[in-house]
């Protein structure tokens, strides 16, 4: 580990307590322009390879949610040719290597984990052949589609708080395609449509290759070339339209998803018009860390669990995409005290936004955050995700250093100001999975009845 790689003297001071350095990232482009990111780590005989494609559900054309999903899931399917005994998937995994895919709102990822001493180039070559010429044979496609259909809800908005809120907040925007997938929409996806989608989106301009582990630069270059040289030709996808933020600006009654439960799961969410490149992001991230994403050190855990025993877990999280981020808060609590918990969440959000944190709190949180950053990427798998984000979100190679430097400079006023610029505590969308609320008592006051009306 070379501490030198962390560039900023100011950070070096506060990391001296025992921080590991963020590893050196090598970056280059293949002949056809695909960015490649590599971190060499030779302690373990393992290579982690990841391909991120701008072919998440947000790229499914209007009216066909599920097309991006089926395209990614069926990528390894192939009819046998003469003398072939095993499918590409079997070739990859029969020797114990691990192949997986991850389909998200804004990207499709392919993950391969191989033992470096057991012919990794053969594995990459198998993957490359499919990347270059995915055929989506019908029988396989149908089998996969049936499996996906079985996993999807008929009515997404009623199926989970997360889907409910995403649909409400993203509105008609393609980023909600992931939540629009239903058995019917997926059943209507055909294998020729998947082939077309693959040809349009699995093209050099939409791809990033990331490698971490026991692989030399020369071999990594060979692997990246193999994976990309015969990709379909085509243009990079155009940027998605801007995310509508108007949905957040409407105060809406909590959505209730009725469940036979004795515990209510409450989720609040709001879209923020910022991403990793925004000047305010560091302040929002540290604020979120202090409010609800630092475990027992967060305000929400302290107030709702430690002091009051209202929940096993309460947390806030920030899901940052291109051009927008979703700030959400989750809690589960005994149904009878659902309203009490919700009120407390509102109060804490309002207090944090109105007053901001104290200087002492910020100093302490900054120190913790920066120290915990030294554990980021301590395993190859974790590092793979961090480095892939550099490529996928087009961030500079020293992004994590810059982030640390920005965090280091923050004070209480910065966090309060950024929070007030972007977060409106009165306008979170709310969804609750839980039992039907108790019927109002017969002697309920008119005011109480009015409040419970839609």
């Amino acid at each position: 580990m070379t501490a030198k790689h962390w560039l900023f003297a100011g950070i070096a001071l506060c990391w001296a307590a025992g921080a590991a350095a963020f590893p050196v990232v090598q970056q280059w482009q293949t002949a056809n322009g695909v960015p490649v990111y590599l971190v060499e780590r030779h302690d373990l005989p393992v290579i982690d390879l990841r391909i991120d494609v701008d072919a998440g559900e947000s790229r499914s054309p209007a009216g066909t949610p599920g097309l991006a999903t089926m395209t990614l899931y069926g990528l390894m399917d192939k009819d046998f040719e003469t003398n072939e005994l095993r499918t590409p998937y079997q070739l990859l995994t029969d020797t114990g290597n691990q192949y997986g895919v991850d389909l998200r709102r804004d990207r499709a990822s392919i993950l391969l984990r191989v033992v470096s001493t057991r012919g990794p180039m053969t594995m990459v070559s198998t993957l490359a052949k499919q990347m270059a010429d995915a055929k989506y044979p019908f029988e396989y496609f149908k089998y996969r589609r049936d499996a996906v259909v079985g996993q999807l809800p008929e009515n997404p908005a009623k199926s989970s708080t997360e889907r409910n809120l995403s649909l409400a907040l993203y509105g008609d925007h393609p980023l909600a395609n992931l939540d629009r997938r239903t058995p019917d929409t997926v059943k209507s996806v055909g294998n020729s449509a998947a082939r077309g989608f693959y040809r349009s989106f699995y093209v050099p301009g939409n791809l990033i290759v990331t490698l971490v582990g026991d692989v030399s630069r020369a071999d990594a270059e060979k692997m990246a070339n193999l994976l990309t040289e015969h990709l379909p030709k085509g243009d990079a996808a155009a940027p998605l339209p801007p995310v509508p933020l108007s949905a957040s600006s409407v105060e809406a009654a909590p959505q209730r998803l009725v469940r036979q439960k004795n515990q209510s799961s409450i989720e609040l969410a709001q879209l923020l018009p910022i991403d990793r490149k925004s000047p305010d992001m560091a302040a929002i991230m540290l604020g979120n860390y202090m409010l609800g994403s630092s475990g027992f050190q967060s305000r929400l855990m302290r107030e709702l669990r430690e002091k009051r025993g209202l929940t096993y877990d309460v947390s806030s999280s920030l899901d940052i995409l291109r051009g927008s981020a979703m700030l959400s808060i989750d809690i589960s609590t005994r149904s009878e005290q659902e309203q009490q918990a919700l009120q407390l969440l509102h109060d804490e959000l309002a207090r944090f936004t109105r007053d901001g944190p104290t200087e002492a709190e910020v100093a302490e949180a900054k120190d913790r955050y920066l120290r915990s950053m030294s554990f980021w990427g301590s395993t190859n798998q974790a590092l793979l995700g961090l480095v892939a984000n550099l490529g996928y979100y087009k961030l500079p190679l020293d992004y994590y250093d810059q982030l640390a430097a920005r965090i280091e400079k923050l004070n209480a006023a910065d966090i309060k100001a950024a929070w007030q610029r972007h977060v409106d505590p009165t306008r979170f969308r709310i969804a609750i999975e839980g039992p039907e609320p108790a019927k109002p008592a017969t002697d309920a006051t008119p005011a109480a009845i009015a409040a419970s009306a839609p």
């Binding site: 307590a17 025992g18 921080a19 590991a20 302690d43 373990l44 005989p45 393992v46 003398n83 072939e84 005994l85 070739l91 995994t93 029969d94 020797t95 114990g96 691990q98 984990r113 033992v115 001493t117 057991r118 012919g119 053969t122 049936d146 499996a147 259909v149 079985g150 996993q151 009725v258 469940r259 036979q260 439960k261 004795n262 515990q263 994403s293 630092s294 475990g295 027992f296 050190q297 967060s298 855990m301 302290r302 430690e306 009051r308 025993g309 209202l310 096993y312 877990d313 309460v314 947390s315 589960s332 005994r334 913790r368 120290r371 915990s372 950053m373 030294s374 554990f375 301590s378 798998q381």
Partner: protein
């Protein structure tokens, strides 16, 4: 990260993760075919073999594993106390005590444990299972002494203040509501375990029954803590970037003076031999149904058979042998719960596919089991399972905490790293004949419980359980 007290359910072949030091056959492929002469790979020495195990005079077991890849240390303290030790009426007490271990000592007030670890940028958590309770801390290597200080302190000086207990037990109940009462698969599993082990503490849910949590008193926890949190009932595991000689003297400084004390006698729980197959049907609001076959495996099963059952579970979890089962199920899982302080258990679970009825799925699973008894096993499936086990060996080295956890667990079950590696090596020697033998010997109808979770709509009230006996 934010859940500090997640229960690790002590199920399903936790021992599978690392494989062994035997040369493996490389299965590189040439044009889709395996080379006929297997290539011998360079010998891999199992990293867990580079471990020192010693004991202090007070009975504390010390496990030291140096790993200098990163300036990080992981400290774990394992107590041999879990749900299996709990008497009727006090289920969940080991786990509740685990929660209270973060609620302050005479020296470190409530909240401060988490605070001190967090201020160093570290992480911590704790797990309670049927067989043990363990605590872990990951810190920068330079702060190892803080970890020793915190852990030796709470081994002796827990406050167990009543007002804090009254709050914390509500948190535990919320945890039960979250993870069991409103989680159909977990609730189902709790029900089925009650049918598999009706007469012994092996049935105890780690989180505890709600009735017991409602009645639990802080005085019960004080007694439990006094009885079981002793150096002679604990193992300290240290893994990471340290010098073993220097660390041993620090360990003696912090733990050497803690007095040992007599532990209460504990008899191994005994469950009468099951004479006939049993069946339990549970109806709950759930996204999907589930069929579960669980076979009780006798204590004293020979090591070779245990290794074969481990491999069989790996094989069934990842490969469909039978097309009918592939069509009838959306997901399939097999697990072998071994090692254990109770009795080994072999499990086969499947979720029905959209078009399959529960009885179709059950009969497809039954057919799969019958195939195992006969000559229906395929060599390729076995080979794939063994290859997966070997490759996973390499992959699991990535996480320092995996190494520490394996070491803590094997020590708790009374194995040396050498014995453990030998078990992993046995798994590579398993043959098709072994698999057929163990399937025929152990996977019989008489020692099996069939559990059926019948999913009910999420928004309608139905809750019922039927228990019947086969024949």
């Amino acid at each position: 990260m934010s859940n500090s007290h997640r229960i690790a359910l002590a199920c399903c072949c936790a021992s599978l993760a690392l494989a062994c030091a035997v040369p493996s056959r490389a299965a590189e492929t040439v044009g889709g075919l395996k080379p006929s002469t297997p290539v011998v790979e360079h010998q891999l020495v199992h990293p867990l073999l580079a471990t020192q195990i010693t004991h202090l005079d007070n009975g504390l077991t010390i496990v030291l594993h140096e790993d200098h890849r990163a300036p990080v240390v992981e400290l774990q303290v394992w107590y041999r106390i879990g749900a299996i030790d709990e008497p009727a009426g006090l289920t969940g007490i080991s786990h509740a005590l685990e929660h209270m271990m973060f609620r302050g000592t005479t020296k470190v007030p409530t909240g401060e444990y988490h605070g001190r670890v967090a201020r160093l940028g570290g992480q911590n958590n704790a797990f309670t299972t049927r067989d043990y309770t363990y605590y872990y801390l990951t810190l920068p290597a330079s702060d190892l002494e803080t970890a020793l200080d915190l852990e030796s302190d709470r081994m002796q000086h827990l406050t167990l203040a009543e007002p804090l207990f009254n709050t914390e037990i509500e948190v535990v109940k919320e945890e039960r509501r979250l993870n069991t009462e409103n989680n159909a698969f977990r609730a189902f599993s709790e029900n089925v375990q009650g049918v598999v082990y009706p007469d012994s503490s092996m049935r105890n849910p780690v989180i505890g029954h709600m009735d017991d949590l409602n009645k639990m008193k802080v005085a019960d926890l004080r007694q439990w803590y006094g009885q079981w949190y002793a150096p002679n009932n604990a193992t300290l595991v240290l893994a990471g970037d340290f010098d073993a000689a220097r660390v041993m003297s620090l360990v003696k400084t912090y733990f050497g003076s803690i007095p040992r004390h007599e532990l209460p006698a504990r008899a191994k729980p005994v469950e009468p031999v099951q004479q006939a197959g049993k069946r339990v049907v549970v109806k709950k609001p759930s996204l999907s149904s589930l069929v579960s076959f669980r076979w009780r495996i006798p204590d004293g099963t020979p090591p070779k058979d245990l290794a074969a059952l481990d491999v069989l579970a790996e094989m069934l979890s990842n490969d469909y042998q039978d097309r009918r089962l592939a069509l009838a199920s959306d997901s399939l899982y097999a697990g072998f719960d071994y090692p254990t302080r109770g009795e080994p258990l072999f499990m086969l679970n499947a979720v029905p596919s959209q078009d399959a009825s529960l009885s179709e799925l059950e009969s497809a699973m039954q057919k799969q089991v019958t195939l195992l008894h006969g000559a229906g096993l395929y060599g390729e499936m076995l080979e794939r399972a063994q290859q997966r086990l070997l490759a996973r060996n390499y992959f699991s080295y990535d996480e320092l905490s995996n190494r520490a956890q394996e070491l803590g667990m094997l020590t708790l079950y009374g194995f040396t790293p050498e014995e453990y590696v030998n078990h992993l090596s046995l798994m590579q020697q398993v043959t098709l004949k072994d698999l057929e033998r163990v399937a025929t010997t152990y996977l019989k109808d008489d020692n099996r419980v069939v559990g059926i979770l019948e999913a009910q709509p999420l928004d309608k009230a139905v809750a019922a359980k039927e228990i019947t006996h086969d024949r």
